[in-house]
C-alpha cells in the first residue's frame, strides 16, 4: 500500500492526512499530526475520499472535453486540441467584438490549489485584459475580508486555529462550529474544559449553545442592533480599555455617538433579548484576560454583513483583544481553499497578496514580470454582478472553474437565465454539475488526489498536498488547461510544475516570499505574512505591538445604524428561511454526494427544520414531505421537527439538488461586498396530503436529474471528427 500526504479537500480547517492507495485507487485515509488537526478528522475527512474514484453515485467524473455546436444540441466528445482552439477562438472573438470586460472568469476555492488560482488571475489580467475575476468567497466570507480590511487592515483571521483552545473567553456569533468545522469544535470544547467562558449569539440552538455559559437567542436579522448594544455596554459601563483605545484606535467619538442610542433596552424589541443578558455578555467578554470572537455565515450572509464584521472588530479593539496570543477576530473560512483563492488574487480588486489593481506601481511590477505593456486598472465585476451584467448586455463570455453557481448562488432562476444569456460559457470541473449542463464547452480537470499544490487553511496557514493517483481519462491539471488556452490566444504561458508557479508568486508577493516549498515539506507549514527566508513558520497572530495594517497604524472603530433585512414576511410568506450547512456534505455536494458513506448518511431531498409549534399549526408531521415556496420559487423537501429551531423561522441546508433552497433565496446584496442575504427569505410551508405520491415524485425528480447528468457524459463518449471550416 502506498501513502501520499494530503490536506483535506473540505472545510478550511486544513486537516492533514495520508491517502492510502492500492493499485491506483484511493482506499482510505490515515490521520496525521498536522498543525491544525493534531491527528483528528471529522466524518468528511475520514470517509470523503471515494469521489475521486468516480463512483457515479450522484454524477459522473468528466473524462474528456465536450462541446456542443449549438445550445439545442447534445454534448459531443472532442479532442483537447480542438477544445483549446474553440476556447481561444471564441474568447478572442468576444474580446475583439465587445472588449475584454465582456469576459468573466472564476477561480476556485476548492481542490484546485493556490497555483491554479494564480494562473487563472494572470490569464484574466494579462491575456484577456480585464479584472473580471472572482470566486465564491463572494457568497460567503467576502464581508469579512472587506470589513476587516477597512477596520484592521487585513481581511484574515487575526489569530491561529490552535489558539482557540487556549483563549479564556469565546464570543461565538452566527457560527455553527459543530457542523461547519467539527475539528475546530474540539478546540472550543478544549477551551471550555480549561475554564473559558463561552457566549453564543445565534437564533438557532446550535451545539455550541449547549456548552455556553450565556446563550443569546437573538431574532433573525438583528445582528447589527446587538453588536451596537454590545459596544454601548462596553462604553457606558466603562468596561473598555481606555489606554488601548487612545493609543491604538481612531474614530472613537463618532463611534460612541452612533452606539449611544443602542442601549440594551432600546434593542430589546429588535433582538428579542433580555437587556440584562446583553450586559452580562459584555461583562464576561471584557473581564476575560484573553478573548476571541469567532463568526461565520450567520454574520456575513446579510445585506449588513460588512457593517456587522466592522462592528465585531470594534468590540475587539475596544477591549484590546488583538495583537497578542489567544485573542482576536476569527472569520472561520468554510471551504478548504477559500482563504487561498482570496490570497491568490482571484478577486476583482486585488492581485495576489491583496495588492490593489488601482495602484499604478503595483500594476507596473506585475506588468513587467508578466511581459505585458499594461494591466487593467479598473476594478472588475463580482460573481454576484453576473445576472444583471448579462441582462444589460455587458457580459458575453464566462469561464467557470471548479464552481457550481447553478446550485450555490441565490435565486437560481436568475442564475440559469444569466448562463443562457451568455454567448459562450466554459465550465472546467471534475464533475458533470448542474452548471456544466449550461456550458458550451466542458473541460475535464484533474481532481484533488490527482494533482499537487498548496492550500491555505482558514488561519492563513499554507500547507502542501501531494498527488496520490494518476489523472483519470484525459483529465489535465487546471493550470495546464488555462496555460494552453492563454497560449492559443496569443499570450504564451508555460509551467513545468506547481513549484515554478509558486516561486513566481513568491517573487511578486513580499508577504509570501518566505513561504517556500521546502519549508512546507511533509507536515511543514507557513502562516502568511512570511517575508523572510529564515522565518520557519511565519506569523502566528497578526498586529503584534498593536500595529494595524492601515496607513496610520491605528485600528478603526466603526458603527452604523441597524436596518431590517430586505425580504419582508407578510401574510402570503409568513416565515423566515435561513440557509445553513450539512455536517456530512460540502458545498454544492458534487464531491460528498459521490462518497458512499456520506451519501448514505444523508440524501435528497434534504430537510427543512421547523419548530414543533409551527409544525403543529401548519399540520406538518415529522419526516413528511412538504412544499416550501418564496416569491421566487417552490421546492419540495422533508420536514424535520425540532425544538432547536426557533419559532417563526425554518432552516434548510444548501447542499440538496432537489430540495434546493437557492430556488427560494433572493438577490438582495450587501452594498460593498455584494454578498447575498441567504440568511433571510420570506417563505411559506405547505403540507402535502398524498405522501405516497410525494415520495414517488421526489424519486422521479432525482432519477431524472441524475439521468440527465450521466446521460450528458455517456452519450458523448464517442469522439467526434474535428470540424474543418
Amino acid at each position: 500500500m502506498e501513502k501520499h500526504m494530503s490536506v483535506c479537500p473540505y472545510c478550511g480547517t486544513g486537516c492533514k492526512f495520508n491517502l492510502l492507495v492500492e493499485g491506483e485507487k484511493i482506499v482510505g485515509v490515515e490521520p496525521l499530526d498536522g498543525v491544525t488537526n493534531e491527528g483528528r478528522l471529522c466524518l468528511k475527512g475520514h470517509y470523503g475520499f471515494d469521489f475521486v474514484n468516480d463512483t457515479k453515485i450522484l454524477t459522473p467524473r468528466l473524462m474528456y472535453p465536450m462541446y456542443r455546436r449549438s445550445r439545442d444540441k447534445d454534448f459531443e466528445r472532442i479532442t483537447w486540441d480542438e477544445a483549446i482552439k474553440i476556447a481561444a477562438t471564441k474568447f478572442s472573438e468576444i474580446k475583439e467584438k465587445y472588449g475584454p470586460d465582456a469576459i468573466m472568469t472564476t477561480g476556485s476555492s476548492r481542490g484546485c490549489g493556490n497555483e491554479t488560482n494564480f494562473v487563472m488571475q494572470k490569464f484574466t489580467r494579462a491575456a484577456i485584459g480585464t479584472n473580471n475575476v472572482d470566486n465564491c468567497a463572494r457568497v460567503c466570507h467576502a464581508p469579512s475580508v472587506a470589513g476587516l480590511a477597512v477596520t484592521l487592515g487585513n481581511g484574515a483571521m487575526s489569530n491561529s486555529i490552535q489558539e482557540i483552545g487556549d483563549t479564556e473567553c469565546l464570543l461565538v456569533f452566527g457560527y455553527n462550529v459543530a457542523d461547519s468545522h467539527p475539528v475546530i469544535a474540539r478546540r472550543v470544547i478544549e477551551a471550555k474544559e480549561k475554564g473559558a467562558k463561552i457566549i453564543v449569539c445565534d437564533p438557532r440552538k446550535i451545539e455550541t449553545a449547549r456548552l455556553a455559559d450565556l446563550y443569546l437567542p437573538l431574532k433573525n436579522g438583528s445582528n447589527m442592533a446587538l453588536v451596537n448594544a454590545f459596544a454601548n455596554v462596553l462604553i457606558t459601563e466603562g468596561l473598555y480599555d481606555k489606554e488601548f483605545v487612545a493609543k491604538h484606535t481612531e474614530g472613537f467619538d463618532e463611534y460612541k455617538k452612533i452606539v449611544s442610542k443602542y442601549t440594551p433596552e432600546y434593542v430589546a424589541d429588535i433582538t428579542g433579548l433580555d437587556p440584562d443578558d446583553i450586559r452580562e455578555a459584555m461583562r464576561i467578554y471584557a473581564a476575560a484576560p484573553t478573548a476571541t470572537i469567532l463568526w461565520g455565515m450567520g454574520v456575513t450572509q446579510w445585506t449588513m454583513g460588512v457593517d456587522v464584521v466592522k462592528g465585531l472588530s470594534g468590540l475587539a479593539l475596544l477591549t484590546g483583544n488583538l495583537g497578542r496570543p489567544n485573542v482576536g477576530v476569527g472569520p472561520v473560512r468554510g471551504q478548504n481553499n477559500v482563504q487561498g483563492s482570496c490570497d491568490l488574487g482571484v478577486l476583482p480588486n486585488v492581485f495576489p497578496g491583496y495588492q490593489p489593481v488601482t495602484d499604478a506601481k503595483i500594476r507596473a511590477k506585475f506588468a513587467k514580470r508578466w511581459g505585458v505593456k499594461e494591466l487593467p486598472d479598473k476594478i472588475g465585476a463580482m460573481v454576484t454582478d453576473v445576472p444583471h451584467l448579462v441582462k444589460e448586455g455587458k457580459l458575453k463570455g464566462y469561464y467557470i472553474m471548479g464552481e457550481d453557481p447553478a446550485q450555490t448562488d441565490p435565486d437560481l432562476t436568475a442564475v440559469r437565465e444569466s448562463l443562457e444569456g451568455m454567448e459562450f460559457v466554459i465550465v472546467q470541473d471534475i464533475f458533470m454539475t448542474k452548471t456544466a449542463m449550461f456550458a458550451d464547452l466542458v473541460l475535464p480537470a484533474t481532481s484533488w488526489g490527482e494533482h499537487e499544490g498548496v492550500f491555505t487553511a482558514a488561519d492563513r496557514t499554507f500547507q502542501r498536498f501531494e498527488a496520490a493517483v494518476p489523472p483519470k481519462g484525459e483529465c489535465k491539471h487546471d493550470w495546464q488547461i488555462i496555460s494552453e488556452i492563454s497560449t492559443a490566444m496569443g499570450y504564451p504561458m508555460h509551467y513545468e510544475n506547481t513549484k515554478e508557479i509558486w516561486d513566481e508568486l513568491r517573487e511578486l508577493t513580499p508577504i509570501y516570499y518566505g513561504a517556500t516549498y521546502e519549508k512546507m515539506e511533509g507536515l511543514g507549514y507557513v502562516q502568511w505574512p512570511c517575508t523572510d527566508l529564515d522565518d520557519a513558520h511565519g506569523t502566528k497572530y497578526l498586529y503584534e505591538g498593536n500595529k494595524f495594517q492601515r496607513p496610520n497604524g491605528k485600528g478603526l472603530l466603526y458603527a452604523c445604524e441597524w436596518h431590517p433585512p430586505m425580504d419582508q414576511t407578510d401574510d402570503d410568506f409568513p416565515m423566515v428561511l435561513c440557509t445553513v450547512r450539512e455536517v456530512g456534505h460540502y458545498s454544492c455536494r458534487s464531491m460528498t454526494g459521490n462518497c458512499s458513506a456520506l451519501q448514505t448518511l444523508a440524501d435528497e431531498p434534504g430537510f427543512v427544520t421547523i419548530n414543533p409549534e409551527d409544525a403543529k399549526r401548519l399540520g406538518i408531521k415529522d419526516k413528511e414531505l412538504v412544499y416550501v415556496s418564496s416569491r421566487r420559487g417552490k421546492i419540495i423537501t422533508r420536514a424535520k421537527i425540532t425544538e432547536r429551531t426557533n419559532k417563526g423561522a425554518v432552516y434548510m441546508t444548501y447542499q440538496w439538488w432537489i430540495g434546493a433552497c437557492n430556488e427560494l433565496t433572493g438577490e438582495s446584496f450587501d452594498p460593498t461586498s455584494k454578498t447575498p442575504e441567504y440568511k433571510y427569505s420570506a417563505v411559506k410551508l405547505e403540507s402535502i396530503d398524498d405522501q405516497v405520491w410525494a415520495e414517488n415524485h421526489v424519486q422521479e425528480l432525482y432519477a431524472t436529474l441524475k439521468g440527465n447528468l450521466s446521460g450528458a457524459v455517456e452519450n458523448a463518449s464517442e469522439l467526434r471528427a474535428p470540424e474543418h471550416a
Partner: protein, 178 residues
C-alpha cells in the same frame, strides 16, 4: 467488570462520525465503497434533543437482561463484554424487548450456505445486533478512534478504579475543607 464505550455529552457535537465508523468497521474490508442504505446499520446512535446531544450504545451489563432473556443461549459473556453467537440467534426479539437502553436491535441479513463448493443464498438470517466493542478488530473500537472531539472512551475496570480513587481523594479533601 465488563467493558463498554461511553459518550460524554459535553463533548459530543452530533456529527455522526461514530455511526459511519461503526458501520464501516462491521462491513467487509473497512473501505467506504460497500456502504449503502441497505447495509448502513450502525450499532451506535447519535441522539439530539432540545438540550442533549450524545451517542448511545450497549452498556455490556453485568447482569444483562438481553442475555437472561435469550431462550437459545445466543448471548454470552466473553472477554469482559456481552457478545452474540449469531449461529444460535433465531430472531425472537426477547433481547430487543428486554434491553432497558433501546440499544439491542434484531436485523435480518441474506443467509448464505456453502454446498459442494458453491455459495448459495437461502432466504434470510436473523441477527441480534448491538455494539460488540469491535472485538474482532485489531485496532480496537472504531468509533472511539474516529470521534473528532474525543467524546467517546472505553470504560473498563482500570479506568473505573482510577476515577473512583480520584473522587474518593476529592471527597477526603473537601471533608477537611469543611
Amino acid at each position: 467488570m465488563n467493558r463498554f464505550v461511553a459518550a460524554d455529552p459535553s463533548k459530543c457535537i452530533g456529527c455522526r462520525t461514530c455511526e459511519i465508523a461503526c458501520a464501516m468497521a462491521h462491513n467487509g474490508d473497512g473501505t467506504p465503497a460497500p456502504l449503502s442504505d441497505e447495509n448502513f446499520k450502525p450499532r451506535i446512535r447519535v441522539i439530539q434533543t432540545a438540550t442533549i446531544t450524545t451517542a448511545v450504545m450497549c452498556h455490556h451489563c453485568e447482569d444483562a437482561p438481553c442475555l437472561n432473556s435469550c431462550p437459545e443461549g445466543a448471548i454470552v459473556y466473553r472477554n469482559n463484554s456481552v457478545q452474540i453467537d449469531q449461529e444460535r440467534c433465531v430472531g425472537c426479539k426477547n433481547c430487543m424487548m428486554s434491553c432497558p437502553f433501546g440499544v439491542m436491535d434484531v436485523i435480518t441479513v441474506p443467509a448464505v450456505r456453502e454446498f459442494a463448493g458453491v455459495t448459495m443464498t437461502t432466504g434470510v438470517k436473523a441477527q441480534a445486533h448491538k455494539c460488540d466493542l469491535c472485538i474482532d478488530r485489531e485496532a480496537g473500537q472504531a468509533c472511539v478512534a474516529a470521534c473528532p472531539t474525543n467524546a467517546l472512551h472505553v470504560v473498563d475496570a482500570e479506568s473505573v478504579e482510577k476515577s473512583l480513587a480520584d473522587l474518593r481523594e476529592k471527597t477526603a479533601i473537601s471533608a477537611i475543607a469543611v
